[in-house]
Amino acid sequence: MTSLATKMDSLARPAQRSGLSDLGIRNLFIIPTVLFLIVFNIFPLIYSLGYSFTDFSASANAPANFVGLRNYRELLSDEKIWANFAITAKYVIISVSGQMIVGFGLALLLNRTFPMKGLVTTLLLLPMMMSAAVVGLFWKLLYDPSWGIINYALGLGDFAWLSNPDAALFAIAITDIWMWAPFVMLLSLAGLSAVPKYLYEAAAIDRAGAWYTFRRITLPLVAPILLIALIFRTMEAFKTFDIAYIMSTQPTTEVIAIRLYKQAFQQWDTGKSCALAYIVLIMVLAITNIYVKYLNKVKER
């Protein structure tokens, strides 16, 4: 850095002022990053696209045989895979709607002045900054059927949250809500604070009721930012792996990412898991596309 700076100094004389042209600098600054991302993200995906048409197994020594679209055909007609997608959809709905309600509710509570507001807001944001794997781990302690504090606090006796096939997905979703409701809260707070005060004053003069004010003023103005939170959380919940993988081994909690992990790294069914990865990838890219569109829309305002 210093050596670069001194080198620059020697170039500072007006005669040699040109140095690198703007075009050169632009390319020097942008191309390495794009190349890096192509090499380490796009190239692997092309590589796995190739394998998705084979019966390759990374644990066997046998060469890969081309099988055409068989992997895709088998996956799309496999009821178990559809069950995994159904579990994922259920998880996304429970978890994301919980986050939206709790997060927006918290934001409505916080959207006023009171002492130590900054500190309280930051404390509430702590969960979303933590590692999902570690959060999942210590929630297991809280959920323990015999001595966990959740059963004790709620008086549930020895209800087995995580080994009960019907409750496990809800238990994981509750942990996810605890972790990510703060995210929705953060975005909602920004949306709420951007609602002009005079609109509320005008509503008060017109003797509008609290519910009417909320429905006609607050909600429409916060909606775009809530939508961003909704799309982003949906995408992330769809990809969920860590928290569900750590917390439960129930088949009822096997979301699609866990299915993919098992197929690729436990059964070593590499060719087929590459095909499944592509099915998942297309879904994620579709949501990403919607997300970026809305992000740009809100940015323009």
Binding site: L106, V134, Y261, A264, T270, Y278
Partner: protein, 318 residues
């Protein structure tokens, strides 16, 4: 009438603040519980009803750092008296510190913690460095197909880790990069680079172009203007971006689980693996978790002004 309304509003306000207090307590309870479990004696960690008041001790942290085994016979009183105080604490729980020759055997935790630090810091420096240059390029120069390129860059971040991990695992195995620091560092750079470009572009867009233009008129080259004028202006943004990238790399689980198993393993896959089978010592797991969460908690406070920006990839400021 007006007085009634404003007193009504004050009541609503008071009620809301009570709600905030309750919500904060509920949200912090899990964190408090894991942190307090780290300071409990083992016998009190899993009691019914849960133990709230206890004499805090640091035995679990000692256990976290040393290798130990269950004793199969009662401890010899002489050996107990001769042992240092911290070994006595471990013996009290029916365990013995493992020694090789004369030196105490260190557990797997410190090396995993160090791996996490090395990998998170190195990948952060490189991702933020490259991201800053690229963000400047996008912010100041006309780039053909800029929107598409930026979408491409962001979309790489949205890829599910497992999807990328399958081919990366095969490629890493072919070139011998599995279970290496470099292997994980590359993956984390790739993961954080797009975020760093997007966030830094927001910060760069806020620095007035006129600053550099004035410098260019004064005879600076574009490079000099970038290093001497733009970078110092962007320092806060660079710091915030770096903290975000650090936290992401620090917390990452899926890649670390798949790509490492020992030498380069980071803390997130290691800590849950301590659960193992049989009766886990929750105080030790709690101690490991608390130490691991501490840097993130500190950084969250340091970042509090930038959190909104960070989670929206720089799109929404305040």
């Amino acid at each position: 009438m007006a007085a009634v309304k404003s007193s009504g509003r004050a009541a609503v306000n008071r009620l809301a603040v009570v709600g905030v207090i309750i919500a904060t307590l509920i949200f912090l309870a899990p964190i408090y519980w894991i942190a307090s479990t780290a300071f409990k004696p083992r016998a009190l960690a899993t009691t019914v009803p849960p133990t709230v008041l206890f004499q805090p001790e640091i035995t679990s942290f000692i256990k976290l750092f040393v290798k130990r085994v269950q004793m199969n016979k009662p401890v010899d009183p002489e050996a107990y008296a001769a042992a240092p105080w911290w070994e006595q604490r471990i013996m009290d729980n029916g365990e013995r510190v493992l020694r090789a020759g004369n030196s105490v055997q260190v557990s797997g935790y410190p090396s995993r913690f160090m791996n996490s630090l090395i990998i998170a810091i190195t990948s952060t420096v490189l991702a933020v460095g490259m991201g800053t240059f690229t963000a400047y390029g996008f912010s100041r120069f006309r780039v053909k197909g800029e929107a598409d390129l930026l979408f491409f860059i962001l979309s790489t971040r949205m890829l599910p880790p497992i999807v990328v991990a399958i081919p990366m695992f095969l490629m890493y195995r072919a070139v011998g990069l599995t279970d290496t620091h470099i292997g994980l560092i590359i993956l984390y750079i790739a993961f954080n680079l797009s975020f760093s470009v997007w966030l830094m572009k927001g910060f760069m867009d806020e620095i007035p172009k006129e600053y550099e233009e004035a410098a260019l008129v004064d005879g600076y080259t574009r490079m000099q203007a970038f290093f001497k004028i733009v970078l110092p202006e962007a320092a806060t943004g660079i710091a915030a971006t770096a903290v975000f990238c650090f936290i992401t790399a620090w917390n990452e689980y899926a890649f670390a689980l798949i790509m490492t198993n020992r030498r380069a393993q980071t803390a997130p896959p290691f800590i849950p693996s301590q659960l193992g089978s049989g009766l886990p010592d929750w105080t030790v797991i709690a101690a490991g978790t608390t130490l691991f969460l501490l840097p993130v908690a500190i950084f969250t406070f340091a970042l509090r002004g930038h959190l909104l920006r960070g989670v929206t990839f720089g799109a929404i400021r305040k």
